[in-house]
């Protein structure tokens, strides 16, 4: 190895509020802003749907929208996104219909969309297990000579899993075109980062695999976009994988079923609210005259339209066919499954007749 990787940034990389913001691309930033506003609204709507019993569970990304949005925006159409269970917003920002993104969480079928059509892998509930998938897919695309980058998302807690380690190692050995984005939101359910790792930063883990590691302010969408773009670009041009740690914060509870007051105080949450990704960008852009009242209103309106449509469509009771339980276990049904399907069919018919 002649290009021994360096230790990552000592401080999270920032753009907003620094001199680097002079070089912001106004168009891109306005797009980011609109997406952030939409993302925030999406989070609010989804949480509201849990209260109305329309979603079984929702892990919110309030406070983490800059990471979710940036992850979606840096990818080309042919690239793949590998979201964790929390990252429905990234999928939505990539263009997926919010209803499809939330299908799983509403108690409907496990994956609400065709992963191949959208190049979005199924939301991964078993933590970190999606990371080797991203590596394998990126590697396969490279072997086939296709221009495809995979971006895989994982939480700070997920970095403790063996699959994280194995995936990063495979990626580095294979020089696979993959970008690993760790959203360090401070907690794995109730467990704070200090109980999760003794490393100086999670980005330092890159060193042990021989890949570059970057530390970024996860609430700074400009910084996120820049660092992710660089990594995607490096992957695309044959430079191999990158590990990026985004420092952010989970402003709401783990999910609607969680009670965050059991393990953290309000002061911490309030401090992070003062470093809000939407406000950070809004302040920067308005100060620089790149965003006016009309833009803000337009973003809000578009978000409301999305929310209204989502609300309305989620209020419709989904119609599932119980017989579908047997339709996709195998390409061809086994004898045993046919028998079980017959039993259920008979039961359903009997029910109907009674």
């Amino acid at each position: 190895m002649d290009a021994a990787p360096l230790l990552p940034d000592p401080e999270p990389y920032r753009v907003l509020g620094t001199a680097a913001a002079d070089k912001l691309d106004p168009e891109l930033m306005r797009r980011c802003y609109a997406e952030l506003v939409r993302g925030r609204r999406y989070n609010a709507q989804a949480t509201a749907l849990t209260r109305q019993g329309r979603l079984a569970v929702y892990p919110s990304t309030v406070g983490q929208e800059a990471c979710e949005i940036a992850a979606a925006l840096v990818l080309e159409d042919q690239d793949w996104l590998f979201p964790s269970y929390r990252d429905t917003l990234a999928a939505v920002a990539r263009g997926l219909d919010p209803v499809q993104a939330l299908t799983l969480l509403r108690g409907d079928w496990h994956t609400g969309y065709d992963p191949r059509e959208h190049r979005i892998a199924p939301l991964s509930t078993p933590l970190a297990t999606q990371l080797p998938h991203a590596v394998g897919l990126a590697h396969a695309a490279r072997l086939r000579g296709d221009d495809v980058v995979a971006l895989a998302m994982v939480g700070d807690g997920g970095t403790s899993e063996g699959d994280f380690h194995e995936a990063l190692n495979f990626a580095a050995v294979w020089q696979a075109p993959v970008v690993f984005l760790v959203q360090n939101n401070g907690f794995a359910i109730s467990v704070p980062l200090a109980k999760q790792t003794a490393a100086p930063t999670l980005a330092h883990k890159a060193v042990g695999y021989g890949m570059p590691g970057r530390l970024v302010d996860g609430n700074d969408v400009a910084a996120m976009h820049e660092v992710l773009s660089e990594a995607v670009q490096r992957a695309r041009s044959g430079g191999g994988p990158t590990l990026i740690e985004a420092i952010t914060y989970r402003v709401e509870a783990h999910t609607n079923a969680d009670d965050a007051t059991r393990y953290r105080g309000d002061a911490e949450v309030e401090a992070w609210k003062a470093h809000d990704p939407v406000e950070l960008l809004e302040r920067e852009l308005t100060t620089r005259g790149l965003l006016d009242e009309a833009d803000i209103r337009a973003a809000k309106d578009a978000a409301e339209v999305m929310a209204a449509s989502l609300r309305e469509r989620m209020n419709a009771e989904p119609v599932l066919n119980p017989m579908d339980l047997f339709g996709h276990v195998y390409a061809e049904q086994t004898g045993r499954l046919r028998e079980q399907a017959e039993m259920l069919r008979a039961e359903l018919e009997a029910e109907e007749q009674s």
Binding site: P126, S160, G162, I189, V191, Q196, L325
Partner: protein
């Protein structure tokens, strides 16, 4: 000295409370008992089963670990090698799978490979089964894997009292125990006296929960209430059903089951786990063998389908229901 002892009385308690109490009492009695897992400390676990333990016994006795199940179980192995009695919580059934190698290749085999020199008294608590509307990977009935692994005990309570008694017995066992907690019974209630809880002398005894003469329902864990309800409903059809609660799958209390079926001449095994290669296969095979000359009809099974666990909106079709049990009982060749 002269105070009158107030005899505590039985009050309604949930299975969740009884499980927590079992750990608390075990920890109070034995300083080598350590509870560990994801979110078991400050939060008290996502199901609140370990609520209060970290406060009462400190973080070193009830420890929030890093998020890595193989690491948790592997560390527990080392702790047990040193003489501690770890009680490990796996957050959900499917999240125990990363620890599978540690479980099969070490936990289950250590006593045997050291010819008794190094037993591992580890209790592995696994909330299992469906019926709570959990999204995928949160409702697996994974008992077949554990049952097929020699060296493990596999225990599962179905009542509040057993939750306490069997968990105490499991923690006290010098062998590793996979303790399967039927998560949809966590909030089931019964009158229970936490100050003089029933002691279960050891694991491996099934119980006849309902006596009957016409057929035996053999079940465990989350399916026990369903079977009891089915047995009640069956009276209307003129069937008098016996219900056996296995309580532990390993050891399997074959005698209690065989005696029952020899008496009734008919048997149905009921569980949520998939049928093909599920625990019911062993039970049915063995009952068929040992009750061969007493059986009026083949041993039947009512189980989950042989499919990945369904989405919440369809799970009611998958789970053994009273109706499905009755339909199956009806097929026990009563005309003969």
């Amino acid at each position: 000295m002269s105070t009158v002892a107030v005899k505590p009385v039985a009050k309604p308690a949930t299975m969740a409370q009884a499980l927590g109490r079992a750990m608390r009492d075990a920890m109070a009695e034995d300083p080598t008992v350590h509870v560990m897992g994801e979110d078991v400390g400050t939060l008290g676990g996502v199901f609140r089963i370990t609520d209060g333990l970290a406060k009462e016994f400190g973080d070193d006795r009830c420890t929030d670990t890093p998020l890595a199940e193989a690491g948790i179980l592997g560390a527990a192995v080392g702790m047990a090698m040193y003489g501690l009695r770890p009680v490990v919580e796996m957050q959900f059934d499917a999240f125990a799978y990363p620890a599978f190698e540690q479980l099969i290749s070490h936990v289950a085999k250590m006593r045997n490979r050291t010819r008794g020199a190094m037993p591992l008294p580890i209790t592995i608590r696994v909330p299992y089964g469906g019926g709570i509307g959990g999204v995928e990977h949160h409702s697996d009935s994974s008992e077949a894997y554990y049952v097929a692994t020699p060296g493990l005990h596999v225990v599962t309570p179905a009542t509040v009292e057993d939750a306490y008694g069997l968990l105490r017995a499991s923690i006290a066992s010098d062998d590793p125990v996979v303790f399967l907690e039927p998560k949809r019974l966590y909030w089931s209630k019964a009158d229970w006296n936490p100050e003089s809880p029933a002691v279960v002398p050891g694991i491996g005894k099934a119980l006849v929960r309902r006596a009957g003469t016409g057929a035996t329902l053999i079940t465990y864990g989350p399916s026990l209430p369903v079977c009891l309800e089915a047995a009640e409903a069956a009276r209307e059809e003129g069937w008098d059903l016996e219900v056996v609660d296995l309580r532990s799958l390993v050891p399997f209390d074959e005698e209690t089951v065989v005696q029952s079926v020899r008496r009734t001449g008919r048997a149905v095994v009921v569980h949520e786990a998939g049928g093909f290669g599920g625990p019911g296969a062993e039970i049915a095979a063995r009952v068929s063998e040992r009750c061969f000359h007493h059986l009026e009809a083949p041993v039947l099974r009512v189980t989950g389908f042989d499919i990945p666990y369904p989405p919440p909106m369809l799970e009611k079709h998958h789970l053994p229901s009273v109706d499905r049990i009755l339909d199956t009982v009806a097929r026990l060749q009563w005309e003969n």
